[in-house]
Symmetry: C2
Subunit: 174 residues, 2 copies
């Protein structure tokens, strides 16, 4: 049983999701959004840092997944996104969590079985895999998708998990 | 007497500089570089966070200046720079420091009296203002320039300081 955190940082909203990897699949634990508000830069970044630290303190995940950014829209938005990512990653590292990065394609592949899945398909699969009745907010859903992807890749590092994943064509085990 | 920290974050090297504002001018306290090494992203960001926290713990500055980034070279470098800035700003905020941002033009104006000064001119003026015999490493020198700019702008918020600064044509008091 491993508790896994996924985060989706943004300059205004940082989504988070926590899942429990039972070894036979993943169960939903918690998800939500940290809203940074309209204050000064250092206060907004501190909100991300403290929010992630608080989520870790509350639920006790031991490892974190985050999406790798390949093509930011432009330099200005990349800088803002980078600042939020820096604050969030440092929070996890200071709490002693491992941090792993995954590309958007890896996340889609793990959740929906294809790197070409759209946001809606990923969200529907997150709901299905975690047996959610209500649709999570989109940033929280993206964070849960990353947590599930991280669980999947961690499993595939274990010989038994790897064999199991291969049998199922590399898709996430239910 | 106020201790002021200036930082110049980068994805590989983060410069820092600490000056003492005596009310009649600024004195050199310390400067240096935090090198993040070639490890994993979270370890590099943690090095920035811990490095800045340690500088604050060692010298006890109460306020920090940082350069505002307007035009990053490209989205990829902006993201990396943003991550380092996020880690550094959160360290300062968590240590209870005020954080103020200044444009490159404001820094040059405060140090050299003209927003058009080049890097070498700024470095020479930093050495002159702080009575340094040896040339500091360029990132440390940039950080000291930001600390001096921050000292200058803080002084100008005090009525007496403002009048004094105006008499001197807006340049930094020696």
């Amino acid at each position: 049983m491993t508790l896994i955190l996924g985060i989706d940082p943004g300059s205004r909203i940082t989504g988070y999701g926590v899942v429990r990897d039972t070894g036979k699949g993943c169960e939903y634990v918690a998800s939500g959004c940290i809203r940074t508000g309209g204050g000064e830069l250092h206060a907004r970044l501190q909100a991300v840092y403290r929010g992630i630290s608080e989520v870790i303190r509350l639920y006790g995940p031991v490892t974190m997944g985050i999406e790798q950014v390949f093509m930011a829209r432009n330099a200005d938005s990349a800088l803002k996104l980078g600042q939020a990512r820096g604050a969030a990653i440092v929070a996890a590292a200071e709490c002693g969590l491992e941090v792993a990065e995954y590309t958007a394609t890896q996340v889609k592949q793990a959740i929906a079985g294809t790197g070409g899945a759209d946001k809606q398909q990923v969200q529907m699969m997150v709901m299905h895999l975690l047996k959610l009745i209500q649709k999570p907010q989109i940033d929280a859903s993206d964070a849960l998708a990353i947590a599930l992807c991280h669980a999947h890749h961690r499993q595939s590092l274990i010989p038994h998990g790897l064999a199991s994943a291969k049998r199922r064509g590399g898709r996430l085990r239910l």
